[in-house]
């Protein structure tokens, strides 16, 4: 395989799965050319005039959509670990004797470990999307026939829109839908809130199948999925398992160490003057992020000021901020708990669902990330140059997807609250195992043992100086981690590239190599 060195100094292949790719050129350096991808023109004359696009089964829908060897099939991940649809698609493909499919999910979860058998039996050639847990292990050990491709959420939209990935069939779970194919996630036994990840799929896929377990008569309002793009509608008993759709991620951390990190993060933001009237922020649904949100909420309340908007995963905690009047708008691309689903249903004016196109797409006329004042993210590793890794662990195993992480790095102040080490594994290292985000976009690392500000952000350093925060250099943090844990040996992977990591503009920023077992 021909390898080239990209602008980040990482060696990446010139071709992936037989297609030429562009090596990373640097942040903001690549300009796309050409026109957006277009699907084949169709006529309403070929669709039922009564608007009833129902077919008897998912198998029939897939047959009608022409499922055949080598196709790319997409699914969204709004049903998270409770998704009952994606696995069925490939079980049916196996029954039909179809081979070498590409699965293109917006994310995968442990429930998708069932796909491993289809990777083994040749039904699925490779996955382009996140590879969590068991799928990540399988891929890391070199068992996937093709090369996996990991993209950020925004990068996924960009790839579809740019025609880099051509979706043949999108199979989209909709917790509520009508026979025309309009759908939303606000109601029904598998309610999940918004369906913002599905926009790229239904707009740009050649064929679109909507699958629901809560069919209602036309019209299904709001139209989070627009039926005019939909070919077939399938009704089934259950599309999801409710308690796994709303996963356990929305509990604030109880760990005193994580709470300390959250508190230091909030204090840092305060000292840097970031928590001010009209500010905007985004944070994940992990326990530490939620705790930071609570500190923000307390500050806003105490000072009688408001945040203008928040983007991202909504939870019961952001809903509380919204309903308390401390937050004016919750722009929601992913709804994490039932309380947030309720809020979106009842308060659509202030808590609208947005798509990935809006918040993250880099090949758009701007997006929301650059407007955000405070961005709270995680990482499995950060190196002394502030480069971040979210896809692999230090032992080389790929166990997480990128999510919106790369897209979010473009915020005005990107903060990574991370423990200095996790069960003897240092988080601050000499060089990240897999480069997922360049250090020039990562501003602050907050650990329980000190805060390191990127020297590129002298403005932030000046603001927080003298505020009594435990400021350290990133090298000092790394040394402290190594004093406690010992210096870890760097694993030596094999040559085989098992996954490519795309940057937000579609270029290849790094690769993951097969681990030694």
């Amino acid at each position: 395989m021909k390898m080239v060195k990209n602008a980040a100094g990482r060696r990446v292949p010139a071709e992936i799965n037989g297609e030429k790719v562009i090596p990373f050129k640097g942040v903001g350096k690549h300009r796309p050319e050409g026109r957006k991808h277009g699907t084949t023109l169709v006529s309403a004359a070929d669709y039922p005039p009564d608007g009833d696009k129902r077919v008897a089964s998912l198998k029939e829908a897939l047959q009608k959509a022409g499922l055949s060897d080598g196709m790319t099939v997409s699914t969204h991940h709004h049903l998270r670990d409770g998704d009952l649809v994606a696995n069925q698609v490939f079980d049916i493909a196996a029954e039909m004797g179809v081979k070498d499919l590409v699965w293109f999910p917006s994310a995968s979860f442990p429930c998708h470990r069932e796909i491993i058998k289809h990777l083994e039996n040749g039904v699925v050639h490779h996955i382009e999307g996140s590879m969590n847990g068991p799928l990540g292990r399988f891929t890391s050990e070199g068992n996937m026939k093709g090369t996996a491709v990991l993209r950020s959420h925004g990068g996924r939209f960009q790839a579809v829109q740019d025609g880099e990935v051509k979706i043949d069939i999108a199979v989209l779970a909709a917790p509520t839908a009508d026979p025309f194919g309009n759908g939303h996630g606000l109601e029904g036994p598998s309610a999940c809130g918004g369906l913002g990840y599905a926009l790229a799929d239904y707009r740009y896929a050649e064929k679109v199948i909507v699958v629901t377990d809560n069919l209602i008569p036309f019209p299904c309002i709001p139209m989070q999925i627009e039926g005019n793009y939909v070919d077939h509608v399938v009704e089934m008993d259950r599309i999801g398992i409710q308690e796994r759709i709303v996963s356990g991620t929305t509990q604030i951390t109880k760990s005193p160490d994580r709470l300390l990190i959250a508190e230091l993060t909030a204090k840092f933001c305060d000292a840097a003057g970031l928590v001010k009237d009209g500010f905007s922020f985004q944070m994940g649904a992990g326990g530490t992020s939620l705790a930071i949100g609570i500190y923000f909420h307390e500050m806003l309340k105490a000072r009688n000021i408001k945040a203008r908007f928040a983007v991202g995963g909504s939870t019961q905690y952001s809903v509380k901020m919204l309903e308390d009047g401390c937050l004016e708008y919750m722009l929601d691309a992913q709804t994490f708990d039932l309380e947030a689903v309720r809020s979106m249903r009842e308060n659509r004016a202030k808590h609208p669902d947005i798509s990935i196109f809006h918040c993250y797409d880099y090949h758009a006329k701007g997006n929301y990330t650059t407007m955000m004042d405070v961005m709270i993210l995680g990482a499995t590793e950060v190196d002394v140059n502030f480069n971040g890794n979210v896809v692999t662990h230090s032992d080389g195993y790929m166990l997480h997807g990128i999510g919106g992480w790369q897209n979010c790095l473009f915020a005005k102040c990107t903060i990574l609250p991370v423990p200095l080490f996790r069960n003897r594994i240092p988080i601050i290292v000499d060089e990240v195992t897999t480069l997922t985000g360049p250090g020039e976009l990562i501003d602050v690392i907050v650990t329980e043992r000190g805060i390191a500000v990127n020297p590129r952000r002298q403005d932030l350093i000046d603001k927080v100086k003298g505020a009594g925060l435990p400021l350290k250099t990133i090298e000092e943090l790394k040394e402290e981690a190594e004093r406690i844990c010992g210096k870890p040996r760097r694993p030596e992977p094999l040559d085989k590239v098992v996954a490519a990591i795309k940057w937000v503009d579609g270029t290849v920023i790094d690769v993951v190599r097969q681990v030694r077992t």
Binding site: P256, D257, S394, N423, C485
Partner: protein, 392 residues
């Protein structure tokens, strides 16, 4: 062949490992490692085992390690504990002493909070000092099962050397009687600041411990003070509190333990604590009579911070200077509740200023406004100012 085991390897036992050691006649060292961090630390774990076995001149053995991210000082302690189950030896394999771990403490330093850490549970020790408690207690007594005392002693010894508690006072709660002497032998040479004596019932017990410690200090050339904090946990202890508090010059504080005390007098411990009012007052009085600190019992309901806050306020009102903690989240509540109020600070500031002014002008009498201030009031004001600064 006999196999000795030490350590823990349940899934929740992070930062720990379980080692099984079988000594052999030949064949060198046969190390079987199962670890999540094998890729990163496999070689260093092997090297650590070789180093320990070499120190004991045991070249032939089978070592089976089930590791859950144990730092080197833990692995070393576990293997040493295995060796000592199979061979009688006085050799110790010591991790390097961190330079920040050799600070001495004063008799009257702030002791508002002290965080209990089960001595045989490494995962809680690593970050214990981050939560700004005034002290940490490595416990060898009630939190360690009798059959685990030997391995816990070795682990606590290594912890005292290798873990940074970020300025917290380093305390060890020892066992009573003979095991307590073994505890002291294990920990005194490794820069302990305070020894807690549980279930203290008479002054002679304190004196005996003090003599033992002084001998160990002499033998090991230790020049920093090792303070004693006897814990009163029985009706007899309460009656003897005054003698106990004055038993030795090294006694720096007197603590009360109410779980055992209430059991001893046959009542339930309640949130209001009326049943222990006498005991608590007696302990405070005995301590103050000897000019040492009085330390209150732990509050066991970790989730109820409001009740803890009320409890600490009541404790402060009775005259206690500090309290035990069983969870880091209790520390801040305790510090806040023990902290003087804004009004108290302001009043104290005025008194201290008046005192300094009077001193400067060579006046024998201190007055704030038209009010004469007695020396004990000045002393209390100075203490309040110190506490206020401790809070900052």
């Amino acid at each position: 062949m006999k196999t000795a085991f030490a350590g823990n390897d349940q899934k929740s036992d992070r930062s720990d490992c379980r080692i099984g050691l079988t000594l052999k006649q030949s064949g060198g060292l046969d190390i079987h490692l199962q670890s999540k961090v094998e890729t990163l630390y496999g070689e260093s774990i092997h090297a650590c085992c070789r180093k320990v076995m070499q120190a004991f001149s045991l070249p032939h053995a089978e070592i089976v390690i089930s590791d859950n991210g144990a730092p080197e000082y833990v692995i070393s302690a576990r293997l040493e504990a295995c060796v000592k189950k199979l061979r009688k030896t006085y050799i110790e394999v010591l991790p390097d002493m961190l330079s920040q771990n050799v600070h001495a403490t004063k008799r009257d330093r702030l002791r508002r909070s002290r965080l209990y850490l089960p001595g045989n549970t490494p995962k809680l020790a690593l970050n214990a000092g981050l939560h700004s408690g005034d002290g940490v207690i490595l416990d060898l007594e009630d939190s360690v099962a009798p059959e685990r005392k030997d391995e816990a002693r070795i682990l606590v010894r290594n912890t005292l050397r290798a873990v940074d508690f970020y300025g917290a006072e380093r305390m060890v709660r020892i066992n009573r009687g003979e095991p307590g002497s073994r505890d002291l032998e294990a920990v005194i040479p490794h820069h302990v600041n305070v020894i807690l004596l549980p279930k203290c019932e008479d002054a002679e017990q304190v004196r005996e411990t003090d003599r033992y410690i002084q001998n160990l200090r002499k033998d090991n050339g230790i020049d920093h003070e090792v303070w004693l904090m006897p814990i009163i946990e029985s009706a007899m202890g309460v009656m003897q509190a005054f003698e106990i508090a004055g038993a030795a010059p090294s006694v720096a504080a007197l603590a009360v333990g109410l779980e055992d005390y209430t059991a001893d007098i046959g009542v339930q411990r309640t949130a209001k604590g009326r049943e222990s009012l006498f005991a608590r007052s007696q302990v405070v009085n005995a301590a103050k009579a000897h000019h040492i600190q009085a330390i209150d019992s732990v509050f066991s309901d970790v989730s109820d911070t409001q009740a803890l806050r009320e409890n600490v306020r009541a404790s402060k009102a009775l005259g206690f200077d500090g309290m035990g903690c069983i969870h880091p989240r209790q520390i801040r509540v305790i510090h806040e509740a023990f902290a003087p109020t804004a009004g108290e600070i302001e009043k104290a500031r005025r008194i201290v200023e008046a005192f300094r002014e009077a001193e400067k002008r060579g006046l024998g009498v201190v007055a704030v406004g038209s009010k004469m201030i007695d020396p004990p009031v000045v002393k209390r004001a100075v203490k309040i100012m110190e506490l206020a600064e401790g809070k900052a």
